[in-house]
Symmetry: D3
Subunit: 72 residues, 6 copies
């Protein structure tokens, strides 16, 4: 099954740079082409099911309702 599009407006395409694996959840760091690092915490089961390894091309996705705004 292939997904054509998803509503998450915030999509950051990049490559997995590092994975810190834990017993239940893992941290997955994604680096975009502009050098931005986006950090994700997902279940370790998902890391394995998606076959994530450093260098793998992925998209980091965030729902707009999860984004906070800070004023400088």
């Amino acid at each position: 099954m292939s997904i054509a599009a998803i509503n998450a407006r915030n999509q950051f395409r990049g490559r997995v740079r590092e994975i810190i694996e834990g017993p239940v959840v893992s941290e997955v760091d994604v680096e975009t082409s502009t050098g931005l690092i986006v950090t994700s915490v997902i279940t370790t089961r998902s890391v394995k099911e998606l076959g994530l390894v450093p260098g793998r091309e992925v998209i980091a996705l965030v729902k707009s309702t999860e984004v906070a705004i800070a004023a400088l």
Copy 2:
């Protein structure tokens, strides 16, 4: 009160590009220096309390636990 640092690893600094105001929540679009657009939905009260207007310098913040990963 000034905040020195926040745990949200994902911080996107930029300027407010557009605000779509609703009666309860508003959409705030932030454009980073590399041209990336990050979309946020926050309460309209917060938009007013923070004094957000187009051009205002802000940081869009996302907790790592809110970031999903999709494989291509």
Copy 3:
């Protein structure tokens, strides 16, 4: 660009049953083949970009970190 797989373990495939459109966010109700209703609130922009209308086949996705557990 097509997505092959996503880490959200909780994927509910169904059809859009109803959309309540607001100025900033909209409620999208999805009905699965077993009659389960899953309710989502996404930006109205996303509703339009995805071309969502009643009857459209979709997947409702939830990150495991967003699921709470209540004991009876």
Copy 4:
């Protein structure tokens, strides 16, 4: 104290099928009567305080603002 109702529109009633316990958070898999598996990540403290064990009847709850929609 007993809760009469909660606003989370998405409530999946079922039984705990499996628990993967970690030092801080645990994965709790819930199976509904129709065979659907809903996965949750909650603190290990909560797993203990709620007395969760395989077979225990529970409700998995998700706020509508946390549900994303993908088009096929």
Copy 5:
């Protein structure tokens, strides 16, 4: 159906102080006995189904994974 306990460790008991109703989502402000205000955004449908009105006794709940920490 009555819920005995929920895993959300952060439970703020109080009374509804104000509701700002929108077409899709509403803001519900809860005041605790110590005068703390907790603000929630839920679907307007839920506001009606729960029969929320100012003065109504409620609990505001937050999952630990949704709480960010800022250093001063």
Copy 6:
């Protein structure tokens, strides 16, 4: 870089009371001046980068869209 204000309406100022450190995420318990305990799960990297230790003054922050409401 110092943050002047953040949109999270729910800000709980207090001191770190306890940290349960895991390999990927850690639980941070914050106690407010009125004795309220707010529990957060953040990455262990953030715990270290923020220099969190028991007694440290912090603010626990929650977006309004993450707060659920239960009726009693």
